[in-house]
Symmetry: C2
Subunit: 161 residues, 2 copies
DNA sequence: GCATAATAGCTGCCAAAGCAGTAATTGCCG
DNA sequence: CGGCAATTACTGCTTTGGCAGCTATTATGC
């Protein structure tokens, strides 16, 4: 069924997409995290603000599944952000189980201030890349994610269609 | 200096290598973790065994920096694996601060048993990819990691040369 | 329509990661 | 050579994530 890109007899972690993605993730964190901490945010706090800014998530549930973060832990982080007046919980009548998270003006301002710093770091990380290489990397990552998503939960995609 | 791949005024997380790598990492974990747990290993335990198998690491320090894992936490995980007889701590005279980790026969057997399962999952995740696409993805990830590594610690590479 | 299952968010408890400080060893520089 | 800084691994303490259970609300099957 699936292609034989890897074989057990010759497998080495160094050439595994799994290892390489994990390592890229580690290195990205090393680069980005100090940036947020300097501005009074933990990484997960930034992630939430950015997810709301870009429409990646509206409910806590979305953030949990998108970023593989624990639901209980997330509640407490949202509490922190709400206490600092950066976002608000809104209950809509449409489905009263759900909580809609909304950035306050202060929250929007905070995340917008961080964006240029992120952009700088990303551009630095991609200095040696051509435009075409970046496009190809994005395309392949998106394709990989789509496949993984599909294998994990075939129903979701069908349901959204 | 660095190319302008991204601009603050048009930046969206969905097209960020950072976001895409983080998401790939999440999805990979969702796919792989159940596999290890079914065989009595946590993900970090597998990572350690695989790192030793493939020569990614020899000392605890190597694992910490490669995988961004806390040194203290790692000591305790290594304790677990040592108690289960899967690896051994060896002090070499060359530098007695360092501990060299070595897989025992049981440890080697355990990790070798897991490899085929990993390989299957990876091949599944890459089903829709051509050989050329996989090669290109690997190349770009390796290049990205090298750049990030360089930006984080310019001395390391110079020292190793 | 009603009982049951499923979903979303929250709370308490436990395990694990993060942090700081320690001891042993080695490298470095005067 | 000697003293100080750096490195490696480890140990306690704190913070955070992961898990199970709970409540409220909505979807589903009879």
């Amino acid at each position: 069924m699936s292609k034989q890109h890897y074989q057990a007899s010759t497998y080495k972690s160094q050439m595994s997409v799994g290892y390489l993605v994990k390592r890229a993730h580690s290195l990205m964190l090393d680069v980005m995290e100090p940036l947020f901490e300097n501005h009074g945010f933990s990484f997960i706090q930034y992630v939430i603000l950015a997810a709301l800014r870009d429409g990646i998530a509206v409910n806590p549930k979305d953030i949990c599944s998108q970023y593989r973060h624990d639901s209980g832990a997330l509640t407490r982080v949202i509490d922190q952000l709400a206490e600092r007046g950066l976002l608000e919980r809104v209950r809509r009548d449409r489905d009263r189980r759900k909580v809609e998270l909304q950035l306050t003006p202060a929250g929007r301002e905070a995340i917008e201030r961080l964006i240029p710093l992120i952009v700088d770091k990303l551009n630095e990380a991609l200095t040696d890349f051509t435009k075409a290489e970046v496009q190809e990397l994005l395309r392949l990552l998106i394709k990989l994610n789509a496949t993984l998503q599909l294998r994990l939960d075939p129903n979701v995609v069908a349901a959204e269609a």
